[in-house]
């Protein structure tokens, strides 16, 4: 596992930050982001895929009222792929009885989908070697988040209460910083504290680029912060050997 990985640094892998507006479709946006990235990594071809198709054609017909990322992948399998965003654009509302999957050409498809082990080291390895994955987290702290690395205090951001799906696109470590406790000690004239660096995950949200760090946020890595290890799901996209390219995650 490399020490850092950021798929955003590789052009044509990660699509621009989407905005759900007032539709509870984080599950569909994260699933589409996952498939777009894997398709670009395996085929060296970027396609922007239709979130609306997942909303209209979801087998549980829940659309904007929330959903599971594995249902999104099942819908992609059942419909033999996904149309492009251009052909089947996002409307911000679901029309669950008006699935138009058959009307448009499929531009990407998946072979299967899997849940990764609930372990941050395995997640990092998969992310670095295969590509971005979806995770479900507790979004409690995100309403008032502005920037930098969230490391929740014990008792906040319950890892069992996950309610928001996002795309995990990388990981890294901050430069050495004084911890908040260390800063407090320093202000009370205690001996100079040790500096530390904070390991973090980089996550792509779907609340527009005006939120967080241009639509992204960073969460502490190594403590199951906000339940990040609870549901690590990814689609499987496999290109035929002759079309396969070796792409590694940029540090």
């Amino acid at each position: 596992v490399p020490s850092t990985c950021d798929w955003r640094k590789k052009p044509g892998i990660i699509s621009s930050v989407r905005n759900q507006v007032t539709c509870g479709c984080c599950w569909a946006m994260a699933a589409v982001g996952n498939i777009e990235a894997l398709w670009a990594i395996k085929y060296q071809k970027f396609v922007e895929l239709s979130v609306q198709e997942l909303l209209d054609c979801d087998r549980c017909a829940n659309g904007c009222a929330g959903g599971f990322v594995w249902d999104a992948f099942l819908t992609v399998l059942n419909n033999s792929g996904l149309a492009s965003e251009k052909d089947y654009p996002y409307q911000g509302k679901a029309e669950v009885h008006k699935c138009q999957a058959k009307r448009y050409k499929k531009v990407a498809w998946i072979q299967d989908f899997i849940m990764l082990p609930e372990n941050e080291q395995s997640i990092a390895r998969h992310l670095a070697t295969e590509g971005p994955i979806t995770v479900t987290i507790n979004k409690e702290l995100l309403q008032v988040y502005q920037n930098n690395v969230i490391q929740p205090a014990p008792g906040t951001c319950d890892p069992r209460q996950v309610d928001h799906v996002v795309l995990l696109v990388g990981f890294g470590k901050t430069k050495s910083v004084e911890s908040r406790q260390a800063e407090a000690d320093l202000s009370q004239s205690k001996p100079r504290p040790r500096r530390r660096s904070i390991p973090y995950w980089i996550l792509k949200n779907s609340w527009g680029a005006n939120w967080g760090e241009e639509g992204y946020f960073r969460l502490h890595r190594g403590s199951n912060a906000c339940g990040i290890t609870k549901y690590p799901w990814t689609a499987l996209v496999d290109a035929p050997a002759k079309k396969r390219h070796a792409v590694s995650c940029p540090p």
Binding site: Q20, T22, G24, C26, W27, N62, A65, G66, G67, F68, W70, T136, K139, L141, Q143, V144, Y145, Q146, N147, N148, V149, I150, Q151, P152, A153, T156, R160, Q161, V162, D163, H164, V165, T174, V177, S179, R180, Q181, I198, Y200, W207, G208, N210, W211, G212, H220, K230, Y231
Partner: protein, 104 residues
């Protein structure tokens, strides 16, 4: 108000200024004075919450005004949460043989 004067956090005038800046930045208007007052109160509560989280956080995160600062936690949940995925997903977090004998 006397006790409030000793509390940390923005004072009423600063709060109104911060709220005006928020309205300009995120293009927010409210239909009547009562709605404005309600959103200002929610905004103040969210600022206080951000300040508390800022103090508690063990990392380097900054919390404060965001595009969602005039929403209650419940409204935010309804608009942006994944109600269906909240908490436990049935049958998805139990491993086979996790102690429930006799059940598949």
């Amino acid at each position: 108000q006397g006790i409030r004067g000793q509390e940390p956090g923005p004072r009423p005038l600063e709060l109104r200024e911060a709220f005006t800046l928020f309205q300009i930045q995120y293009n927010r208007t409210y239909s009547n004075p009562a709605e404005y007052a309600r959103r200002l109160e929610i905004f103040a509560r969210n600022l206080a919450r951000a300040q508390r989280l800022q103090e508690e956080d063990l990392g380097t995160a900054q919390f404060g005004v965001t595009p969602f600062s005039d929403l209650t936690e419940e409204e935010f949940d309804q608009l942006y949460g994944n109600r269906k995925a909240a908490g436990r997903a049935p049958n998805m977090d139990r491993k086979v043989g996790s102690g429930e004998r006799g059940k598949s």
